[in-house]
């Protein structure tokens, strides 16, 4: 186990360093000058002013020097500065993190609550009508663009329930009811799609386990089917499901980026889209690294969890 943990940590670290290099060089390769965004809202570009600015910001130094400086700042907890807003990136990101995390959390909850039972039922009644129905439903969920689903939901809800996305964020600590009212619908929109993936994985994992000899033996012995399901099949099927939750996260983030746009939720996803549209490369850099780091951390946790759950690894 210890060797496993050490290896996982090392891989995570190497991945992070590699990512930082990739992101940094990508931003520098972009067309247009990184400084242009500062002039954009002023409506003109003055070459002399621009050169002064470049020197002030240190953008005219050689790339390795700039990279070293960036890494130095990162290690001190400084994610850089948004050139467009002229503010520290972290100041802009900080109030938005809890918003996205809450949305992601709720979506993940919905996806598990919808997906796992559906997968179990589907596996238990394989190739019966209910299986086909659930599979079609879940595939439909995976095939829909999540923003379209969001728009359709808004259309239906606004027309029938008079619900509309709120334009101002209310923190759950201030008013839990208003907060949930605002988040439940978008979380459902994102969660439905993720639940499809979880459903499929759960189903195939269950099917695999159910084919195992010891299950068939128990069945032959006449042990009550449901007991078998719960005790043996489900527990062993959970292993790949837990792994998938890590993969799930990637899927979720993708859904969040567009869903935040549709539902006007001011989270990290919306910030990322705005920054990309405006060419605020410095901010994009910090954001992408942040998102990717969260990613790597989640995957690390999942890997460690997997290692602990799988007795073959734990007892090594």
């Amino acid at each position: 186990m210890r060797g496993y943990v050490a290896k996982r940590l090392l891989i995570a670290l190497v991945t992070l360093v590699g990512m930082s290099m990739v992101i940094f060089s990508l931003m520098r390769l972009a067309p247009g000058n990184i400084v242009d965004v500062i002039f954009e809202s002023a409506g003109y570009v003055d070459q002399a002013d621009k050169r002064l600015l470049e020197r002030e910001l240190g953008v005219d130094r050689p790339i390795p020097v700039q990279y070293a400086r960036w890494i130095g700042e990162l290690l001190q907890g400084d994610l850089g500065k948004s050139y467009r807003y002229d503010m520290r990136a972290w100041t802009i990101i900080k109030p938005r993190l809890p918003v996205t995390l809450e949305l992601a959390g709720l979506a993940l909850l919905f996806s598990i609550v919808l997906g796992v039972p559906a997968g179990v039922v589907s596996a238990a009644r394989q190739n019966r009508p209910i299986d086909y129905v659930l599979r079609v439903l879940s595939l439909a969920g995976l095939s829909m663009p999540s923003f379209w689903l969001g728009m359709v939901i808004i259309l239906l809800f606004v027309r029938s329930l008079g619900w509309m996305p709120s334009v101002t964020y209310v923190s759950p600590f201030e008013d839990l009811r208003a907060n949930l009212w605002q988040f439940v619908v978008p979380a459902l929109a994102v969660g439905y799609r993720s639940s499809a993936l979880i459903m499929r994985i759960t189903r195939s994992a269950m099917l695999e386990v159910m084919r195992e000899d010891y299950i068939r033996t128990a069945r032959a012995k006449g042990v009550w089917t449901r007991l078998i399901m719960r005790r043996h099949a489900l527990r062993n099927a959970m292993l790949p499901v837990v792994t998938v939750i890590g993969l799930e996260f990637a899927f979720l983030i993708g859904g969040l980026v567009v869903t935040e746009q549709v539902f006007n939720i001011n989270g990290i996803g919306k910030l990322f889209v705005d920054a990309t549209a405006r060419g605020d490369f410095n901010l994009i850099q910090g954001l992408v690294l942040l998102i990717a780091t969260i990613f790597v951390l989640v995957n690390l946790v999942v890997d460690l969890l997997y290692g602990w759950l799988d007795p073959r690894i734990r007892l090594r």
Binding site: M19, A30, M144, M151, S204, G254, V258, T276, I284
Partner: protein, 300 residues
Amino acid sequence: MAIVAATPSVQAETLPKRANAFVQFVKVQPLGVVAFFIILLYVVFALGARWIAPFDPEAIDFAAMLSRPNAEHWFGTDQYGRDVFSRIVYGARTALAVGILSAVSGCTLGALVGAASGYFGGRIDNFIQRIVDIMLSFPIIVLAMVVVAVLGKGNIGGVDTNLIAAIALPIVPKMARVARASTLSIVAMPFIDAARAAGFSHKRIILRHILPNIIAPYLIMVTAFMAQAILLEASLSFLGLGVTEPTPAWGLMLSGTSADFYQTAPWMIVFPGLAITLAVFAFNLFGDSLRDWLDPKLKG
């Protein structure tokens, strides 16, 4: 020499013979057949757009703007008075073109990378796998958006090559993983050692023995990634980072000024969204059926 000439027939991952294969497929995977015909319908739309679409998809007609679906405009019109149905038909062209080009280029590159990684093993394998890990660490849409931000909009013969690169890129590491797994199982086979002992070049071994055996997973992945490519293109166009006006594209029809009007003119977004969903659904279903039929072990 007998060993080299023998086609390995151990795995079930080879493509069965043509004629009775199709009949078998229809029997065993009825859903797959349905999916196939839906895809065919879209291909017909794409190829025959000029004859099928009743209106020019870019013809602006402010007098008819935002009209409900009626006898003249089956799916209604958008905020410029353009016929929604015609735009959907032409949109099939964009979707399939972008989808095929990205899926094929991404899968091909991924297959080559994965096969090389699995075949050469050792340090090369480790290095490539680390890069693959890094790429897989990014959520797909983030990766695509970063590529778009960096490359901007490209144009070679009317096709936005940078968009295709952006969509193909997230596919490469996934395909590489699958190709590597397949390759590893083949490399372990004794006849490969024999071939190497006989002095055949790496290139010949890879081309003659490795690649033909990844064709099955390759085809499955291509269909699966077509679905992902269409979805990703729709998302990018929705965010304003993909195809741009006035090109008819399904994702584009859901974004921009459409966002201003869809609550009063819902047909503007309902139909393009259905078009996307149905296309992606068909490709996913077909891919699933293909996989179930060719190789039941390749699940998940």
